[in-house]
Amino acid sequence: MTGLEIPFRGETLRALGSGALHWAARDLLIVSDLHLGKSERTARRRGTMLPPYETRATLERLAADLDASGAGAVLCLGDSFDDLDAARGLDGQDRDHLLSLIEGRGWHWVEGNHDPGPADLPGEHHAELTLGPLTFRHIAEQGAVGELSGHYHPKLGLPGCGGTRPCLLFDTDRMILPAYGAYTGGMPATAPELRALIGQPAFAVLTGTKPLLVPYPARAAGRGRRRF
């Protein structure tokens, strides 16, 4: 499996092209913002009936990452479900699939703003969680050190290389994970909310067939268009 090894607070985390992080020393796969059940919630609340396949798509991706990494434990960094009703309303097949992934693995549910309470599923529920030098919480806190979070769905493009892709952001103190779920929009990595959290030097890892490491764009500067 291709990945990008990132030294972080004395640990080594491997960023995968899918947007997951593998912490080999702890046998742990970390994913954020799965937003399972989004189409069901949308139909319930808005009456628009999106293709009801996003949970299947997300779980298939997760299963593939688990296969490839062989991780024995999973940590979901919040907003795992689009809301708690969506967790309850999971289609039978999707629910079975999820249970089969949980089966035999340590599973940590860190809560998010979309799923504040424990869902009726196996695994441990945490408001936030600290493992060794690393702290896992859904929304980053100003001034935190060794923190991994999600929530913002950062995305970034490379000049001349097509559109934007979801990306992992990190500096020496924190990492902000991309959204892993299939139906998730994104916030430009350079949006003020994210700039306020990310110091320099900082990097982004773009998701894709291969994870791509680039420097986190510095503020302002020219917008020259490069030709390929």
Binding site: G47, Y53, L158, Y183, F203, P215
Partner: protein
């Protein structure tokens, strides 16, 4: 009720007072006022609109009719307003007891409410506003007494989905007002019968009246001192000569093919306008206030010229226009003829028009277009059956108005010309999609959109859904636009720019809108705030204005023209350029494919001169690069014009012939289609019209960037898990017809039959050189680009000096 076949006396008096005589086709319209469907084809200035309204005015003259009598539908808001003005004059002068009002997206809420409660005799509206009215629960009451519908500029509406939606709405109206008579007013078209078949209620016939087309136009190409540039579409080089023409004429309309071009040209015109001639600008992205000011100034005869786009293509009567200038090749002879008709709005006087080619090749295209106009050869392509996404929306609109019976609705839809061939299975598919989402995986049992009641009628599960459906009525696919206004309290609205463009702006950037240079200040609640402090060279706001491809007929004519020994009527520069092409390479031919290869800026280039029109050339670009990718040529990107596709890559193409094997191209199309951007763009449109994606939400508007993202994801997800879903089927069909335009690729393959000529040059050839300057380059996602992306990422890392900070390392495991 008494129906007049002759003019009532007060009409005769009024015509006489004005010193007018009634045109034969106007009298004919009166005589055939009873026809269930009637179409009038007349040139601009032929009193077409009055011809459409005369029977209505005659029927309303005695004051006996109560409520709505005639609906007038036009493709443009401005036209509805203008017709109200023009129609009010005879009504007042004759003292007719007739109330006339317009109702468009621009009409105030209070006026709209009043119109529902107490409709006028004549209501002037647009297809979208009409569809919205039909969605109201009280539609049966509003339309109960309706007698006539007049569809103006039906040739323009019928070209697209707006026409399909309108005809579906008319089917609905006919159920609400049995005996409704339909009248279509059209400019000159290539196939009147086909248009009539769309208007009539199938299978009934539609009578056609053709007015005297009038004298041939006086049309020429502008000769300029400076030669036109090699590429581009703006025509900026000709500003001085255009200004000279404006000076020589009373009022000039200066047409552009896109809004952005109109803006740039207007700006340049203004800089060169030393005599301070009053010149205005008018296009669809300007605010209503700005547009209305220009229209009013024009009506008052205060303007010497208007720089405009398709927003002035249609029937607004500007009176004294004595010259039409078309900047950029017209692409389509029919459209050109209709535009020329805008000059000299007096019947039986020739219209005067001047074509201004925007680049070197367009000189050739303009020459071919001039020949076609002289030969009265209009171009046109047959329209396909009614699109199902529009039908889905129609089903939702019907459900908004109240519970409906599926059999009745099916019969109604079958009566619409474009949907006459609709099968019950297709209809059921659409109904199922609207009701349940139509997925192979049966989800949403609890959350269906439509429910079937015990009595068999269908209704909305949640009546509140009607609000959202109404907010998303319409088939116009605008890019996501942001309003632009002056900063400060009560800042003046200026118009709109595309969200994608706004996203590239940073504070201090300047851009052009409505002909003025403004400075970007901030983005606040979906509004771009600007100030007047413009101290930098302006950037150009972009609009994804649909670029029409050059028609097949025109392309053939161009190819034939290129085969001539010489082109004495062309300006020297273009003539020399063509001769040079013949000397160093070859001339493209109708029956052969010319491929030129050459190195340029470290990349290998291949130029395919196949003349299939912009969309098909784009498709060819995607298909050819895909095949080149499998051949290991590492294509990096391409650019397409109406005439050719230029591909560049890391390796040289030495044997182009196998690329054009028809069977493999077709097979390639099948597999390739699913993954590409054109399909995603088409999907977005189809899904929005069919109601899978909502563009407008109550209160918050979803931002365009998020919508783009998620519609692509929806597309990918459906393709993977539900490839036969209705919306994907409709997308495939429409893409083939529209943006993919595979019919033109087929046509090209058919005429060239695998005869390929390869010219290997050591530098860009004259024809290909112009292509190098084209914009709208399309990157190819492939091994070549992946390699470059990695190189770029590495370069950025190195450049940033960050590599030393305990840099992460790539570990391929």
């Amino acid at each position: 009720m008494l129906r007049m076949t002759a003019l009532p006396p007060q009409f005769e008096d009024w015509f006489a007072r004005r010193g007018w005589s009634i045109h034969p086709h106007q009298r004919e319209m009166l005589a055939r006022a009873d026809a269930p469907s009637l179409m009038l084809i007349a040139p601009t200035g032929g009193g077409k609109t009055l011809a459409g309204f005369l029977p209505t005015l005659a029927e309303l003259a005695d004051g006996a009719h109560k409520g709505l009598h005639t609906l007038y539908v036009s493709p443009l808001k401005a036209l509805a307003t203008d017709i109200r003005r023009n129609l009010t004059i005879p009504v007042e002068e004759m003292g007719l007891p007739v109330r006339i009002e317009d109702r468009t997206g621009d009409t105030k809420q209070t006026a709209k409410k009043r119109q529902r409660a107490d409709p006028p005799h004549i209501l002037l509206t647009t297809p979208e506003s009409l569809a919205l009215m039909v969605s109201y629960e009280d539609a049966p009451r509003i339309f109960a007494g309706l007698k006539r519908v007049v569809v103006d500029e039906i040739h323009a509406l019928a070209e697209g989905k707006r026409g399909d939606q309108l005809m579906l709405t008319l089917g609905r109206l006919e159920t609400l007002a049995p005996g409704l008579r339909r009248v279509g007013l059209s400019a000159t078209v290539d196939d009147p019968e086909a248009l009539a078949a769309q208007l009539a209620r199938a299978p009934k016939p539609c009578e056609i009246i053709e007015a005297d087309p009038g004298p041939d136009p006086d049309i020429s190409m502008l000769h300029t001192e400076a030669p036109p540039p090699w590429a581009g579409a703006g025509g900026g080089y000709a500003v001085r000569e255009v200004l000279e023409q404006v000076r020589k004429h009373k009022t000039t309309l200066i047409f552009h093919n896109t809004r952005a071009q109109a803006e740039i040209f207007f700006h340049k015109l203004w800089l060169a306008n030393e005599d301070d001639l009053p010149i205005g600008i008018h296009h669809g992205s300007l605010s209503r206030q700005v547009r209305e000011n220009v229209e009013a100034a024009m009506v008052a005869g205060e303007l010497r010229a208007i720089v405009c786009t398709g927003s002035l293509d249609l029937g607004i009567d500007w009176g004294d226009v004595d010259l039409v200038i078309q900047i950029g090749a017209p692409k389509n002879v029919k459209r050109l003829v209709q535009r020329i008709g805008r000059a000299n709005h007096r019947y039986n006087a020739p219209s005067k028009a001047i074509l201004v080619p925007a680049n070197r090749f367009e000189v050739v295209e303009c020459m071919a277009a001039l020949e076609a106009v002289k030969a009265h050869e209009l171009d046109g392509a047959p329209k396909g059956p009614g699109p199902l996404d529009v039908l889905c929306q129609h089903i939702m609109i019907t459900a908004c108005a109240g519970p409906f019976d599926e059999d009745v609705l099916f019969a109604e839809v079958k009566g619409v010309g474009a949907y006459a061939g609709l099968s019950r299975a297709q209809f059921d598919d659409c109904l199922d999609f609207v009701a349940t989402g139509g997925y192979a995986l049966r989800a949403y049992d609890k959350w269906k959109r439509l429910l079937r009641r015990p009595d068999g009628l269908w209704q909305l599960r949640d009546p509140r859904a009607a609000l959202r459906i109404r907010m998303n009525i319409g088939t116009i696919q605008d890019a996501d636009l942001l309003k632009v206004r002056m900063r400060g309290a009560g800042g003046r609205p200026l118009g709109e720019v595309e969200e994608g463009f706004a996203a590239t702006l940073t504070k201090g950037d300047t851009f052009l809108i409505g002909g003025q240079v403004v400075r970007y200040e901030s983005l606040r609640e979906m509004t771009v705030e600007v100030s007047r402090r413009a101290d930098r060279e302006p950037r150009i706001a972009t609009y994804a204005g649909a670029k029409m491809p050059t028609s097949a007929q025109l392309a053939h004519r161009i190819l034939d023209d290129l085969q001539r020994d010489d082109w004495p009527e062309l300006p020297r520069h273009t003539r020399d350029w063509l001769h040079l092409q013949r000397r160093v390479s070859k001339m493209p031919e109708r029956g052969r494919i010319l491929v030129e290869t050459f190195p340029h800026e470290g990349r290998h280039h291949a130029c395919f001169h196949t003349f299939a029109g912009r969309n098909a050339q784009q498709t060819l670009g995607l298909l050819l690069t895909r095949r080149m990718e499998t051949l290991g040529l590492h294509p990096l990107g391409f650019v397409a014009t109406d005439y050719a596709t230029l591909v560049w890559g890391l390796d040289e193409l030495t044997d182009p012939e196998p690329l054009f094997a028809a069977r493999e191209l077709r097979e390639g199309l099948e597999t390739w289609l699913t993954g590409n951007a054109v399909m995603k763009r088409t999907f977005r449109g189809v899904a929005t019209i069919a109601g899978l994606i909502e563009k407008n939400l109550p209160q918050i508007r979803k931002t365009g960037r998020q919508a783009t993202f998620s519609s692509d994801i929806l597309y990918d997800t459906l393709t993977k898990y539900d490839p036969e879903h209705l919306i994907l089927r409709v997308t495939r069909e429409q893409a083939m017809r529209g943006l993919v335009d595979f019919a033109r690729v087929e046509e090209m393959l058919e005429r060239t039959r695998g005869r390929v000529d390869l010219v290997r040059a050591d530098r860009p050839t004259p024809l290909a050189a112009a292509m190098l300057l084209e914009r709208d380059r399309v990157p190819v996602a492939g091994a070549g680009r992946e390699r470059l992306a990695e190189e770029e990422a590495a370069r950025l890392l190195k450049e940033s000096g960050l590599a030393q900070f305990g840099a992460p390392t790539v570990a391929g495991v």
